[in-house]
Symmetry: C2
Subunit: 143 residues, 2 copies
């Protein structure tokens, strides 16, 4: 694993939104916007709403992860000045967490970063958190 | 195919950046930020720089598409007011274009939307354009 350099770490920590790609067992990708926390090693992103029509395990991103844990996340800002463009791509694998100490800790970190999660009582919803274990982090800058 | 509704179409047309996920034949996803144009039916996103160390066909996103044309694109804006969150997810398949009338037309559309491409002489670079043929477009709004 490439150890994340400080600027990578800072970039990941300072952002509030990322886009996460999973793929099902047939290789069909799905990309969605996510909120996340980063503890310096792993990323955590929650399911924050019970799906209306299906159980939470039938949510496409969850089904994908259960079929195929490979995952890719991009964090970037868009600027019209293209020489300012910067992004971080994280490759890794995902695990579903539904209970336990690490699960509880991730909920606390999420509520510290996003007051919105406090307002919606994330910690009482009993919904899974996706843990992303990076095995490669790429930092890209236009110049 | 779900016919894109006007608000979906408007949302896609009015944005300047998207995030595109491909996956290799082993189902390993890759997500990258992209610039794109939408002609009301298909999306086009160019390779706008010759990779430094490899040929353009060895670029990971190109290799993925050649191995597995399935693709997913998300277009979204992040707001701290989560009730404003909106996104469009496009599922489809990708084709590589390297010449021909449609290829030339996509370069013209890209230069019309992004003056940055005019400044970098995109039309003379002879680099491929990825054509994305949607088979499903999902529009999601928090409320």
């Amino acid at each position: 694993m490439d150890i994340p350099m400080d600027r990578q770490k800072q970039f990941i920590l300072s952002h509030r939104v990322a886009r996460m790609a999973t793929a099902d067992k047939l290789g069909r990708p799905l990309v969605v916007p996510i909120c996340y926390v980063f503890d310096g090693k792993n990323l955590y992103t929650p399911i924050d709403k019970k799906p209306k029509r299906v159980s939470v395990r039938e949510l496409k991103r969850i089904r994908n992860i259960l079929e195929n844990p490979k995952i890719s996340i991009v964090i970037d800002d868009y600027y019209e000045e293209w020489n300012k463009l910067t992004y971080v791509i994280i490759h890794g694998r995902a695990e579903l967490m539904e209970s336990g100490e690490e699960y509880q800790r991730s909920l606390r970190l999420l509520c510290e970063k996003y007051t919105q999660y406090v307002d919606m009582n994330l910690s009482t919803l009993n919904l899974p958190v996706i843990k992303v274990i990076p095995d490669r982090i790429l930092f890209w800058r236009a110049i």
